[in-house]
Symmetry: C2
Subunit: 364 residues, 2 copies
């Protein structure tokens, strides 16, 4: 399976390099392709390299500290003690080649200059587009991990109405959601959980603060589980207490927008179309201009995977085994926002929902 991934990366490149070098630097600048090509599901692997060959083989170069964990993959491992040893190993690994592919999107300029200086006789090619293209289509192992991450998010989503109570703080609800995800098998949260109440729900990127919940508030929870490096991403919006007519209408429109989005998805369709039909629908309601982000994004090892979105300017054509979020929203500053987000698998004849927890309108 890993061999296939590497071969697909090479196949997706027009100007082919002899070898591809993936450098995983150090937080906060990391290249998660290191995990994609090695299949390693745990660990950090700072300062580690993966050398990819056209026949699908992978060679790992890791610091001593990572040796034990690296052994969990079946591939060849070379361990280095210090930088001078690393430099020798790197030179040796690529010495019989001329053209080296690099992930220009995942390597810092500083690290590139170091590598260029070390390997001064080589030509470097940007293979980042090919890697993104390859990662868009998930294989069976990846889908299994994503399904597990989705299952965990679903379990938690269905429990939120029981956790929410009068006066709970935003940060407390976030803590409860994260706790439930980990107790149900998540390695960690996919991203910083959004748990916003009332007016704050109108800010799509607000995370959580020390606001207390009160009657009539929207409760918006956007969260996901990370399982073996793969992520889910889900949003549920509830009303605490009795909903106003406006709140009901906002919810109804967003739910219908999501349904329209789902129905537009199948292989062969342009990603931009999915956004356009969702956006057109909302534009035709009283909430015109209140949908202020894209309809969704590809999901995988990265939460925003492969830089692919359901947006007007996307040039992606949907294919089987792509995984996307579908997450329309309506945001009214001063009043609040509604977003409903689920994860779907693109199939030949439609979309399979990977998250299945209730999307019903719920007054808690």
């Amino acid at each position: 399976m890993l061999e296939k991934r590497v071969k697909r990366i090479f196949n997706n490149i027009s100007k082919k390099p002899d070898v591809i070098l993936i450098k995983n630097a150090a937080m906060p600048v990391i290249d998660d392709n290191f995990f994609y090509v090695t299949g390693l599901t745990h660990g950090i692997f700072e300062g580690s390299y993966a050398v990819l060959f056209p026949d699908g083989q992978v060679e790992l170069i890791v610091p001593q500290l990572e040796e034990e964990t690296a052994k969990k993959t079946g591939t060849k491992i070379i361990v280095y003690k210090d930088h001078s040893e690393l430099n020798k190993i790197l030179k040796n690994s690529v010495s019989s080649y001329e053209k080296i592919g690099l992930n220009f999107k995942g390597i810092s300029l500083r690290d590139f200059l170091k590598i260029k200086n070390l390997l001064s006789n080589f030509d470097f090619f940007d293979v980042s587009d090919s890697i993104e293209k390859t990662r868009l289509i998930k294989d069976v192992i990846e889908l299994n991990y994503i399904r597990e991450a989705c299952k965990i998010a679903d379990i938690v989503a269905d429990k939120i109405p029981q956790i929410v109570s009068d006066g709970i703080h935003e940060y407390e609800l976030a803590a409860e959601i994260n706790y439930l995800m980990q107790k149900n098998g998540a390695d960690k949260t996919a991203f910083e959980t959004i748990s916003s109440f009332g007016k704050n729900t109108a800010e799509p990127h607000y995370t959580h603060g020390d606001i207390k919940l009160k009657k009539g508030d929207f409760v918006l929870c956007d969260f996901g589980a990370c399982f073996s490096k793969y992520n889910s991403d889900i949003t549920r919006t509830f009303i605490f207490g009795k909903a106003s007519d406006m709140q009901k209408e906002m919810y109804k429109v967003v739910l219908e927008a999501q349904r329209i989005g789902f129905n537009a998805i199948k292989s062969g369709v342009k990603a931009s179309i999915v956004h356009d039909v969702v956006n057109s629908y909302i534009q035709g309601t009283k909430f015109k201009g209140r949908f202020i982000h894209s309809t969704g994004h590809s999901l995988g090892i990265s939460v925003h995977d492969s830089n692919a979105r359901f947006s007007s300017n996307s040039d992606i054509l949907l294919e089987e085994n792509m995984v996307f979020t579908v997450e329309p929203g309506i945001y009214i500053p001063g009043l609040g926002g509604v977003r409903i987000e689920d994860d779907v698998l693109v199939k030949s004849k439609g979309a399979e929902a990977l998250t299945k927890s209730s999307r019903d309108f719920i007054e808690i």
Copy 2:
């Protein structure tokens, strides 16, 4: 305070640029200096830029989605709708200058090539070393956030013996630790919490799995809180049940090694010396060769801040208001490991412990 940070960055550069451009791209390649120079304590700010001027002023260029959150800083904000508008704004912002400083360590090669293409008449300078040097010394606002992050970790550390019980899984203990941190005010965890039992404690980078705790096991917990973007990082090791003589001795040696490390720290001392005295001490015990990592690292917005460590090859000279972890450990494959980690503030006459929870030898 923010003005001072920016001025210090310029002062620390020998070959001075007219202006510095910080680009915060998208996860997992982000530049947390965006938060350092803006003082923004929440949000993601993907696709956002900060333009720094020698007089300490900062100008923000952010996508529409981030406009509301960006307003929380007092600086000038320019909002862009799409990439062509962004390009115009970028050109305009730097048009009256010639030399542009970039954080070569925080920008991807791909993003650099785009910027170089857009601003083709400009010279680019690497200012990453200067930024790291500046960030090593914390100001009052930073220290307040770090102290809060340390306080949260301390509260949780002291509660661990009450949470641990026979048969608890590693991942469950990690979930409890994370939950307690968030309930006590952490925005999120500083990093993926390590909660390892028994033999697994011998792997410094092992995180957690589904191993159940049993009598005689080491319990090693390495965790930290993130508060307003600043992190703490602490490790406690316990024995579940009655300790063996070997376990007692390992603990005693690590605790003494940490004390030796603490005592070596004060401004004016080489960072390498701190590691050397700790390492020499352990080398002189029966645990020779069992301390396999550096003695500590700088701590701040990044958990491994400014790429500075207590290690033999460090060329850092300690200065007042630097913050470091002190974390000696002993690891015996097949048996287990002990690590004790605390966070300290460098002062003129010594080290102030920022984490104060019990480091006593505890049999739970």
